[in-house]
Amino acid sequence: MDFRNELVPVYYRYRDTDQVLRGNAPRTLHQGMECVMELHAGKFDLRANMNLSDNHFVEFTADSLGWGGFGGIADYAEKRSPHSAFQAKARFSYRHDNFHPWLNLRYAGKQYIDFMNTESAAIPAYFVADIGLRLPFELLSMEHVLDLRVNNVFNALYETFGYVYYNAPDERIDNYWPAATRNFYMTWTLRFGG
């Protein structure tokens, strides 16, 4: 995807010496490859996908290194935008008449949180696994489904998003959204009528 004038966040905008408002990245490139696979072997199913992406500025000059505006006007050409360059997911499941266990696996590669691609602030790669069991049954002329689910079964400590701002030119503040640790869900679904 070849973007011209991609809209940039408000806090990166500035007016140049001719008082022209710079609110667009003149050229950015988002390109990648996604691979999707489904495999069915008897009662076992596997669904998996992975993507490799390259999102970078070809031409982009912006005001600051983040909120606060202390970074000054900088040239971000060839810098990556804050997306993970590699992600993969897989879902294994088994279809029995009375129970359906499943396992979800997710992996995301390193993710920068600023346009300067500061290595020390980047979110490291993470791996998360969820497991569950689906129990369909009939009772009192109604269809019931009981779903049991454990998210982040290995209790991984990971972050999904981050951003930076500056309190002073040499005081960068990194911020991260932490993802939930191990958590449990139980869902009971009832279907009335035909």
Binding site: M1, D2, F3, R4, N5, E6, L7, V10, V20, L21, G23, N24, C35, V36, M37, E38, L39, H40, A41, L157, E159, F161, G162, Y163, E171, R172, I173, D174, N175, Y176, W177, P178, A179, A180, T181, N183
Partner: protein, 372 residues
């Protein structure tokens, strides 16, 4: 991905063939969710309901839906910062939420909330007009109203239009504000499919009328009380009218080779009108027009039953949002348009995005495996 389109049978199946249970069906769903959230003090209460009625006959189907939802969420917008002493590897410290920290919010732990109610009503109709002609039409209405509520310490009474209320415009005050949005969205989508021996032609479009009111009110001033339900510190309305037309043709060259080509015209008219309230002394009033023409061309080829692929080249454009153009509650941020006053049609200083997209897909299918 349906790559196996065959146009040799130039007729649509009866709707009843697609939906064999002719007659009327009704479904209803209700949910009530209550979560304390992962971040400290970031819980949410959510209720929703969904009613669906469908009437199917051999040559037409009509489907009506109504959805309603309400949420009250204690937000946790800000991230957790190691530079402020929080260890992301500590099971408790990584859950820190600035907006639930009583030391920064006048002793309140649950004052910062997002509250919103939304409903969606729609009716869709599919009609086989002739064996080679099918109509689809849909009408919808979306309405939503709500606010986010926030504690603001050491606030300027002038900026919040409070000088008459507190009688002293030099004293900073702690207050609780609400930023409201009341919006409505009505529109329709339609298309007509026409089958010819080597073509499937589709023409269609949509129209949308969006209207919204945005206003800010102070719900409570510490040591002074409430300035009343009619209090405003900004008030503005926006209107956005949009319509589009498109036409595309799926051309069958032979049973394995297809070409798709299409063109779309999209138009928006965006109006902003602010009221003179509080420190909004020079209200914005302007109209932004956008007219976009885009195209798409694609080629599909079935090498065999196991191997197929397509490649497409398309363009699209996106206009800046209202948040890109101006700030509701901050008149010191100059609207990014050439002429922000006077109600005239003007040009945005933030350009629209343009995208050229090249897509290629290869599908390998086996008895038990699909690679895409």
């Amino acid at each position: 991905m349906p790559l196996m389109h065959r146009a040799e049978n130039v007729r649509f199946p009866d709707v009843g063939d697609l939906f064999p249970e002719n007659g009327v069906s009704v479904s209803f769903r209700f949910s009530d969710l209550n979560s304390s959230g992962y971040r400290i003090g970031s819980g949410t209460e959510q209720k929703s309901a969904h009613l669906s009625v469908q009437w199917t006959q051999s040559r037409h189907k009509t489907h009506a839906e109504y959805l309603w939802g309400h949420e009250k969420t204690n937000f946790s917008w800000d991230g957790v910062s190691p530079q402020y002493g929080f260890d992301l590897n500590d099971m408790d410290e990584r859950r820190y939420n600035f907006y639930a920290d009583t030391s920064y919010h006048g002793g309140y732990s649950d004052v910062n909330q997002d509250v919103f109610t939304q409903s969606v009503a729609m009716i869709n109709h599919t009609h086989i007009l002739r064996e080679d002609l099918k109509l689809y039409a849909s009408l919808y209405h979306i309405g939503g109203e709500g606010y986010y509520r926030q504690f603001k310490a050491d606030s300027d009474p002038v900026a919040y239009n409070l000088t008459d209320f507190i009688g002293n415009d030099s004293m900073e005050v702690d207050l609780i504000r609400r930023k409201w949005l009341d919006n409505r969205y009505t529109g329709g989508i339609y298309h007509l499919n026409y089958l010819l021996p080597a073509h499937m032609i589709t023409v269609g479009g949509d129209f949308r009328f969006y209207g919204s009111g945005h206003f800010g009110e102070v719900a409570y001033v510490e040591d002074h009380g409430s300035p009343g339900d009619d209090h405003r510190y900004y008030n503005n309305t926006t209107r956005k009218s949009s319509y589009s037309f498109y036409a595309r043709d799926l051309i069958t060259i032979n049973e394995n080779l297809f070409i798709q080509a299409g063109i779309r015209y999209l138009s928006h008219r965006f109006l902003v009108r602010q009221d003179t309230v509080g420190n909004v002394t020079m209200p914005y009033h302007f109209i932004l027009p956008y007219d976009f023409l885009d195209g798409r061309v694609g080629l599909r080829y079935n090498v065999s039953d196991q191997l197929s692929g397509f490649i497409s080249l398309s363009t699209s454009k996106r206009e800046p949002s209202s948040n890109d153009i101006y700030d509701d509650g901050d008149p010191t941020v100059m609207a990014a348009v050439e002429d922000p006053y006077g109600g005239n049609v003007t040009e945005p200083l933030i350009k629209h995005e343009s995208l050229t997209d090249l897509d290629g897909v290869l599908i390998i299918s086996g008895k038990t495996c699909v690679w895409e």
